[in-house]
């Protein structure tokens, strides 16, 4: 019961702050609300006993990516953007499309959640063993993907430096 209440509270925080992210005029406010969303999602990971991912979410997303975002928001001049309209001209069409997407996916999920027969199951292992299990999977079964991910990060780093440095003529 307590678990369900925690889940509902975290979901409401995540969804409301996500809506605030996409409706704020000021990009700094959007970034702050995105931090709130990321914290709520990390709480949901913790609720699902994914402790390692909870830590990764906070350290990498909130501590790394969001600081990068805020840094760029500060670099880019926001005064001009504040005076302009928030939404693009096509917003009614976009809203209808998104509502249609939500309706289709929601209908399919609602119709088939009984057919899928997704019962609640106990967690995989003791809380302390989650990090161990993820680490073993990463360095045994997913050795090559980890290496590819490291190369991807290197390429992204070099690409970001070149992109931000060179002036296009």
């Amino acid at each position: 019961m307590l678990e369900l209440i925690t889940f509902i509270v975290l979901s409401v925080i995540a969804l409301v702050s996500a809506i605030l992210v996409i409706t704020r005029r000021n990009a700094v406010h959007s970034a702050i609300w995105l931090v709130v969303t990321l914290f709520a999602v990390s709480g949901i990971y913790l609720l699902q006993h994914a402790e390692f991912l909870f830590a990764v979410q906070i350290i990498l997303y909130v501590g790394g990516i969001m600081v990068l975002f805020l840094f760029v928001v500060m670099l880019v001049d926001i005064d001009v953007a504040l005076k302009q309209a928030r939404f693009a001209r096509q917003w009614p069409v976009a809203l209808v499309t998104a509502a249609l997407l939500l309706a289709i996916v929601g209908y399919a999920l609602y119709n088939h959640s009984q057919g899928l027969n997704l019962p609640s199951r106990p967690m995989i292992c003791a809380p302390a063993q989650n990090t161990q299990a993820v680490g073993l999977a990463l360095y045994q079964n997913y050795m090559l993907p980890v290496e590819i991910a490291s190369v991807l990060l290197l390429v992204a780093m070099v690409g970001a430096v070149i992109m931000a440095k060179r002036k296009l003529e």
């Binding site: 699902q48 997407l101 999920l109 991807l152 992204a156 992109m163």
Partner: protein, 100 residues
Amino acid sequence: MIPTEYYIFLGTGLFTIGVIGVLTRRNVLIILMSIELILNAVNINLVALSQYFKSVDGQVFAIFVITDAAAEAAVGLGLIIALFRNKETVNADEIDLLKW
């Protein structure tokens, strides 16, 4: 225990909000933030189904998704800085260099 479909519904909601953000906003920075929302929705689903199937594979994939998000944010923000330097705008409507 919370039923797995609740998590999937939450993921669907967050995904839709992210899609609305990408489609309607004009500020490129907020479009990138909406993409982060979409990736988080995917991660919620991955973790929920990893618990359901009693396997950590889903969580490992969520870690790869976070790696991708980091790479995408770095390159995307580098692009925005280069764009701002050349066109003095972060408005997606004004970036029409390739428009015929």
